[in-house]
Subunit: 315 residues, 2 copies
Amino acid sequence: MITVFAGGVGASRFLQGLVQAVDPADVTVISNTGDDVEMFGLHVSPDTDIVLYALAGAVNPETGWGLAGDTFAVVDQLQRFGYERWFNLGDRDLAMAIHRTRLLHAGIPMHEVVAGLARAWGVGCQVIPMANEPIRTKVYGPDGEIDFQEYMVRMRTEVEVRSIAFAGADTARPAPGVVEAIRDAEAVILAPSNPFVSIGPILAVPGVRDALASTAAVRAAISPIIAGQVVKGPAAKMLQSLGHEVSAVGVAAVYRGLIDLMVIDEQDRALAPRVEALGMRCHVTDTMMTSAERKAELAAEVVREARRVPRAMGQ
Amino acid sequence: MITVFAGGVGASRFLQGLVQAVDPADVTVISNTGDDVEMFGLHVSPDTDIVLYALAGAVNPETGWGLAGDTFAVVDQLQRFGYERWFNLGDRDLAMAIHRTRLLHAGIPMHEVVAGLARAWGVGCQVIPMANEPIRTKVYGPDGEIDFQEYMVRMRTEVEVRSIAFAGADTARPAPGVVEAIRDAEAVILAPSNPFVSIGPILAVPGVRDALASTAAVRAAISPIIAGQVVKGPAAKMLQSLGHEVSAVGVAAVYRGLIDLMVIDEQDRALAPRVEALGMRCHVTDTMMTSAERKAELAAEVVREARRVPRAMGQ
């Protein structure tokens, strides 16, 4: 069994490859819900939905999020009632939010909601939210606290992030199945997602870090930073503003002690010794997921390399 | 001031005429919320929305309900999650439901919600829901209780209605402004709506019937039945199955003691003496609202005739 800690776009592309490389029934995704947001009174789970849409083959390939061919009649019309249009929720995407909101209001726990959504989309792997309790990622800029989607979408990440917090994490518990998926896995893979706001919230759920520390599984991560830049999102800017090196080494340092294997891009081959100096194996390959074939090859390669890492090194 | 008790399509057409005939600022609409329904977890107010859309000039002219040119992406997509498609809520129509639901969940009373919606649509007259508390119209057929929208939309009214009830009416109160609008009006007009399931729920709110009985206003009704048939909806079938005459006389009998003036169609001219025998004036005119001009003429005529009825007759 392979367990993947997943954020949004980068993770979803890796997962598209992974379910080609291995039996989807052997894959468990632990999804970040720290970027969930209430929008127009509806519960929206951006990262979880990106993963579900991508695994269903329905994601908008141009943006990496939302549904291919979606329309925007509802959010357009909501402006009549004073709502701002910065959060671009498509009509079919919004149907999912309506359904999720109704179930949550009826008292259905999030992990059951997500399992039902995965079934509705014909997703063959298990997708589990990191926690059933609401956890909200907050970033702190020069002017104080900012809700994550405000920072990410409305402000287009154009503010210096000085610190990050996960409101509600202290009293949350891993959703049913999360600890087991980490404990019983052959490999736990931290997807090429933002280490601070995609993987970070999952690690902030009490018990997850311990489960990752004590599992017999090999733990691997794929760097979202390639040649000092990020494919998508604010990971590079955050490494910079939070005082880390903006490179695969910087990412590896964030995960130091938590992972056994770091996968970095060929363009960063020269960094491999510095990564290994952090106490982990380093595998170098082409990590740009530019085609369906390359996604599957990368996933297969990560799984294969994880199997080669001696377990002793992972403990 | 003119106060109108309003159901859906028939009422909305009459109101379109009324706001041409008199200053909209002098018109207060008391709207039926008995057909409100929770659909996909959203609060939908079919009759109130028909009235608002019609007064905003935005209603779908072909159906008489919903918004002109609306799309159906959300309800189409909701089928993926197991929802049935019988309730045809358009995307832009659904935006209104999303907004209303959010406000109600936030504790805003319905009369403030509706006032805000009317402002958002640029509606010049006052629109007040009959009550802030939920009241749900139930019809009883051979197999027992049926929610109103189930009966109206899903079953296409194809069941014999043996009785009607208004769940929640006993403990409801007229929304702020309702009693005043009846008490202080020059005329109170029962729109050409279904007497049982459009006007009936308004009359079922404790205090409304008394306000109508004690007002100094002249009280008028327009028959929704013309030549033994109804323009739209199940009024004729209900008159039949509930044991009333299927005619303007049957409608007048239902309103007996509550109104001073009954307006009937020219095709029913021969019924006028029988209507007047019920203790009310009867005015005969063309009540088919087939054009914008005819709507305005009918409304002007109803107001003019109401002014001619001696107040004494109304007491």
